[in-house]
């Protein structure tokens, strides 16, 4: 068991932890915006962590390069699609739950409308 194996195992464990936290957040949080907040960050970091560990383990230039490509793609795609879902959820009438302290997007929208 050399150093690369140990680093790969640590990155795999890190990724599983973040995926698990994201799933717990998806199941337990109260409304769609907070669920999205949990899953976007945890999924992006978990997938990037597991893929980085596997790319390090593969020790091949083309395989590792493809996996770095997947990491870049996943980071860009997850953040962009979370933004799109949040915007469409708000504009299609989804309300934040009662404990929300401030609704900045709604306030700005009202300022623009009036």
């Amino acid at each position: 068991m050399n150093l690369i194996d140990i680093v790969t195992l640590a990155l795999l464990g890190n990724g599983i932890f973040f995926f698990f936290v994201g799933t717990v957040g998806l199941l337990r949080l109260p409304d769609v915006f907070t669920r999205m907040h949990a899953t976007t960050k945890c999924d992006t970091l978990g997938a990037a962590s597991i893929l980085a560990g596997l790319a390090l383990y593969s020790a091949d230039f083309f395989t590792g390069g493809k996996m770095v490509l997947i990491i870049v793609l996943a980071v860009i795609a997850n953040s962009t699609s979370a933004h799109a879902i949040a915007r469409s959820a708000y504009l299609s009438g989804e309300k934040p739950y009662e404990g929300t302290l401030e609704d900045a997007y709604g306030r700005d929208k009202n300022d623009l409308d009036t």
Partner: protein, 90 residues
């Protein structure tokens, strides 16, 4: 060299958490909840595909994972556009 059982274990744990996400996709009160849950399942499937490449020793699965990431992205953008405007066309 790591034994194969490590990758199999990671894949099984991800598959189990995918089933918990499926609960939100079926039950979820609103449409954006379902979209978020399906997006999460897509990301986990992508990682499982890359793990398959290491379990079976074939790099073909990594190319499949790249295409799967692109399809997942397009799917989410299309559904969110439909929810926002009511039409898919630009």
């Amino acid at each position: 060299m790591l034994p194969e059982i490590v990758f199999i274990t990671v894949g099984i744990v991800l598959a189990i958490t995918s089933f918990f996400c499926l609960y939100r996709a079926v039950k979820g009160p609103s449409a954006p909840d379902r979209v978020v849950a399906v997006n999460v399942i897509g990301t986990k499937t992508l990682v499982i595909l890359v793990l398959f490449a290491f379990i079976y020793g074939r790099t073909l699965y990594i190319d499949v994972a790249i295409v799967y990431a692109l399809i997942n992205f397009i799917l989410t953008l299309t559904i969110s556009r439909y929810l926002e405007k009511g039409v898919v066309a630009i």
